[in-house]
């Protein structure tokens, strides 16, 4: 590792201390990339994970469940139409209620959970806070998969008129895991 790399890593670590933790992402499977993308600032399209690829791991102590897109679609889902606060557009999301995922591993509303994204962004709070705001793990946006450069493949979404709708720190996109906070 050269000096520049070390410096970059030190800077990232320093930034992570403010609320993020850097973890190594698992090696991505080979996916096709496209030069076209809906996001004008995405540069180029990055393929979403395969349907059976694990995209979410939910852990409560010794109990861990891995979910692929296919697995999530088999669970109870709900649809939410909101004015998406990051892009200011009306969008419809379909996803699994977080309560369902909490229940699957026995997380109680009084447990403090940690949500972690692919870029290691982490947000911790009581499980009850997420369920109170009817948070969902969305995997479809406007009927299609959520692109990687637009928060995909899965992201947390809160319906309008809930406490967390206006609290953007809790909107963790490109989420990778949910576990009991240490």
């Amino acid at each position: 590792m050269n000096t520049a790399t070390k410096a970059l890593m030190g800077l990232v670590v320093a930034l992570s201390l403010a609320g993020c933790t850097v973890v190594n992402a698992a090696p991505a499977p080979a996916t096709s990339s496209s030069a076209e993308t809906e996001n004008p600032y995405g540069g180029f399209a990055v393929a979403n994970p395969a349907a059976d690829e694990v995209i979410l791991t939910v852990t409560n102590g010794d109990k861990t469940i891995d979910f692929s897109t296919m697995d999530l679609k088999k669970l109870e889902t709900t649809e939410v139409t909101i004015d998406e606060p990051f892009v200011n557009k009306k969008q419809t999301f379909v996803g699994v209620p977080m309560s369902v995922l909490f229940d699957s591993v026995g997380i109680k509303s009084t447990d403090k959970v940690s949500t972690l994204a692919l870029n290691d962004y982490k947000y911790d709070d009581l499980a009850g806070k997420f369920t109170e705001s009817k948070g969902i793990i969305a995997f479809l946006r406007d009927g299609t998969e959520i692109p990687m450069d637009q928060g995909g493949p899965i992201r947390i979404v809160f319906p309008s008129a809930t406490p967390y709708f206006d609290y953007l720190d809790a909107w963790n996109w490109s989420i990778r895991s949910i576990s009991i906070a240490e």
């Binding site: 590792m1 050269n2 520049a4 790399t5 970059l8 890593m9 800077l11 990232v12 930034l15 993020c20 190594n24 992402a25 090696p27 991505a28 499977p29 080979a30 996916t31 990339s33 030069a35 993308t37 996001n39 004008p40 600032y41 995405g42 540069g43 180029f44 990055v46 606060p85 990051f86 892009v87 200011n88 994204a117 692919l118 870029n119 692109p147 990687m148 450069d149 637009q150 928060g151 709708f165 206006d166 609290y167 953007l168 720190d169 996109w173 490109s174």
Partner: protein, 764 residues
């Protein structure tokens, strides 16, 4: 008063709300409202800002996240070059950077648009490498990395420079927020300052007004307190004058003389009003001069001074009026209302005065009693008004005839007296005769002419020796003698040689008459007892004279005078009246309370009473009036009464026919023939006590008494023995069948008030 004060002053002047007060208050309130609104708006803005911070990312925050994601891409590239990361991981990092760059920040721009153009260019230069990265073999990665160093280094530099952009944005944002906050606080401060300024002005103004109001109120209260103190002083002065005036008036009513009353008044006035210079002059009962000054240095108000002056004058008027009234009373006490001459009291005092004068200076004291002849007839024929005119005329003429050192008085209805000091008896008698001549005259009345004559009783003292007590009695006796002859215009001069012996009798008669008139004659009651069994049956009424200064006088000592004075009938009537009244009120109730039969009352009747043909009717009327049954009445007569003959007998018979009993009293003391006596209309024979004297030792006397008793009983007479003083005598007379007795053994004559006790104790 206070209400008026409050109404007049406090409500108007203590504090008055002014238009300016209201205006300033309104401004203050308006600014307070404005401040509140402004603060609320500011707070809302702040809240909105806070809301936006949470709900929308600020440009600077977005820039931070862009820098973070950019470093992440660079890190992944370096890891890729060292074969520690896959090409997909690098692309995912780029994808997440793309997501970040697409976020719309608070400024409305996409985050990408906030970044510098150099950064945008460096990223655009980097993207072709990143697109190719998955296709590069691991062995070629480092050479590719090295080859792409300028591009990566540029992107790295631009990423680091994002901090400058972040700082600019943060600075700009902070500056904007600070300016906004400063503006808000400036407005708030200005408003607050204005509020404090206006509020302070208002408070100062109100405080000034209230202070001024209180100062004025305080001044007014002090002024009023001063007035109150003055009024209090005035009240005290007036009250003190009033109280002390009342004291003087009470003393005047209690007899304080005029001189001391005026002295007391001066003292009071000098204490309350020093320097008043009270000037008082009186003439008789009239206040002729009354002056009083109000000393200026005292500051007494004219009204108060006039009050005090009026009070002082009132006292003076009162005391003078009291003196006048006293004089009037004294005059009335010493003068006769009708004629204006002195009355008997003044006359008596003048007798004393003139007697002393004679005894000290010499000469003789002459007293003439002048009595209008047949004045009663004149009154009867012409009426009392004409009679009064005659008396008034007499008074005038006597007054006109008086010389110096002579004094006249009206003693009674038609009796006048003149007294004077003379050289000798002759001069005195001459004056008396001259006075008689003057008064013997025709008197013209309203409707007639009355020929008036007067009789004169004259008494003249010895030279230089006048007895103020004796001389008037002598004159009265002379008057009595003059009137007794029934000769008109008679003139009698008292002469001790001829008249001294008449004096005692005449005076006793006067005393008896007075006793009868004033109720000095009292009836006492001596019990009469049935001897076997020993039971009270009645009382004998016995006359006693309770003479003032002497005590009880026995009948034997005054009855001769009563008879000689021709008062026997009058005294007898008094005895009858008192006896019958006592039977009803005392005797009968006392017997009844003791369980005894009604008693009888035995009343002594004088011969002269029986000589009056109307006596029986009179007595029966009295008995009827007193509601006494006639069979409980007994009269006792003496043998003297029997000399009246048939006329007396008829009256006795009439009385007996009504059930009244007739007893012969004092039997055995006269000379009547017993046989003849027993034939008279009698029911009871009362044996005189002299019969019982020596009865115990003289058996002959007892036999004689036994014979008399038997004879009496033979004529159906009851026999009562008087003077029983021992049980032995009682037993003896009881042994000869005398049924009734009275005497000290049973009880002395007692006043009516003792009867109850005697009856109650008789058989104990």
């Amino acid at each position: 008063m206070f209400d008026k004060f409050r109404t007049e002053y406090l409500d108007k002047n203590l504090f008055r709300v002014r238009v300016g007060h209201v205006l300033l208050a309104a401004i203050t309130v308006a600014m307070l409202v404005g401040l509140s609104v402004w603060s609320w708006v500011s707070m809302q803005a702040h809240e909105n800002e806070k809301h936006q911070i949470f709900s929308q990312e600020s440009d600077s925050a977005a820039m931070t996240f862009v820098q973070r994601e950019s470093f992440s891409v660079l890190l992944k590239i370096e890891q890729w070059a060292d074969n520690q990361a896959s090409g997909r991981e690098v692309q995912i990092a780029r994808a997440l950077l793309g997501q970040r760059l697409s976020v719309q920040a608070r400024s409305g721009l996409h985050t990408f648009e906030i970044t510098s153009e150099a950064y945008q260019n460096s990223l655009a230069n980097l993207d072709p490498l990143l697109v190719r990265i998955p296709e590069i073999a691991p062995a070629d990665r480092m050479p590719e990395r090295i080859q792409a160093e300028p591009i990566i280094a540029e992107f790295s530099r631009q990423t680091r420079d994002l901090s400058d952009t972040f700082q600019e944005l943060t600075r700009a944002q902070t500056q904007a927020a600070t300016e906004e906050r400063a503006n808000a606080e400036l407005v708030q401060s200005v408003l607050l300052l204005l509020i404090m300024l206006v509020g302070g002005v208002l408070a100062a103004w109100v405080t000034f007004d209230i202070t001024r109001g209180f100062r004025r109120a305080s001044e007014l209260i002090q002024h009023r307190q001063k007035n109150l103190d003055t009024a209090h002083q005035r009240l005290l002065l007036v009250q003190s004058m009033d109280e002390r005036s009342r004291e003087i008036i009470n003393e005047i009513h209690s007899g304080l003389d005029t001189g001391r009353a005026i002295k007391h008044l001066r003292h009071v006035l000098n204490s309350l009003l020093p320097g008043n210079n009270l000037l008082v002059e009186t003439e008789g009962a009239e206040l002729t001069k009354f002056e009083m000054q109000n000393p200026a240095e005292l500051g007494i108000s004219p009204r108060d001074f006039e009050f005090m002056k009026a009070r002082a004058k009132e006292i003076l008027t009162l005391v003078l009026m009291r003196d006048q009234q006293q004089e009037d009373v004294d005059y009335a006490l010493r003068h006769d209302n009708l004629t204006g001459l002195a009355n008997r009291a003044a006359y008596s005092a003048m007798v004393d005065t003139k007697a002393n004068e004679v005894n000290q200076i010499g000469g003789v004291l002459g007293i003439f009693y002048l009595d209008i002849d047949r004045f009663g007839d004149l009154n009867s024929s012409l009426g009392y008004q004409m009679g009064d005119q005659v008396l008034v005329n007499m008074g005038y003429r006597i007054s006109d005839a008086l010389r110096t050192n002579e004094f006249a008085a009206r003693l009674s209805s038609d009796e006048f007296a003149v007294l004077g000091v003379y050289k000798n008896e002759n001069e005195a008698r001459s004056r008396a005769l001259a006075m008689q001549n003057i008064l013997n005259a025709d008197v013209e009345l309203d409707s007639a002419v009355a020929s008036i004559t007067v009789s004169v009783g004259c008494a003249v003292s010895a030279a230089a020796h006048a007895d103020a007590n004796e001389l008037p009695r002598c004159a009265a006796l002379a008057m009595h003698l003059a009137k007794r002859s029934e000769q008109r215009s008679n003139f009698v001069t008292y002469n001790s040689d001829d008249h001294a012996h008449l004096m005692t009798t005449w005076q006793d008669e006067i005393a008896v008459r007075n006793a009868l008139a004033t109720g000095e004659f009292k009836v006492y009651f001596q019990p009469i007892v049935l001897l076997d069994p020993r039971v009270p049956v009645g009382f004998e009424a016995l006359l006693r004279w309770d003479r003032p200064g002497i005590g009880i006088v026995a009948p034997g000592d005054f009855l001769p005078i009563v008879n000689s004075a021709g008062l026997a009938s009058a005294v007898g009537a008094d005895v009858i009246s008192q006896s019958l009244e006592a039977w009803t009120e005392v005797l009968q109730p006392a017997y009844n309370q003791a369980g005894l039969s009604d008693p009888y009352i035995s009343i002594n009747v004088e011969a002269v009473q029986l000589e009056d043909k109307g006596f029986a009717d009179y007595l029966l009327a009295e008995i009827l009036h007193a509601k006494v049954p006639t069979h409980h009445v007994q009269i006792e007569i003496t043998e003297n009464a029997l000399v009246g003959g048939e006329a007396v007998f008829e009256q006795l018979e009439r009385l007996r026919n009504t059930g009244l009993r007739v007893a012969l009293d004092d039997f055995g003391t006269g000379y009547s023939n017993l046989g003849q006596t027993l034939n008279l209309p009698l029911d009871v024979l009362k044996i005189d006590k002299s019969f019982l004297e020596g009865l115990v030792d003289d058996s002959r006397k007892l036999r004689m008494l036994d014979d008399v008793t038997k004879m009496a009983k033979g004529q159906d007479l009851r026999v009562t023995a008087e003077g029983i003083e021992s049980e032995q005598v009682a037993n003896l007379i009881q042994s000869i069948n005398i049924e009734y007795g009275q005497g000290y053994l049973f009880g002395k004559a007692m006043p009516r008030n003792d009867v109850h006790n005697w009856v109650r104790n008789f058989n104990k």
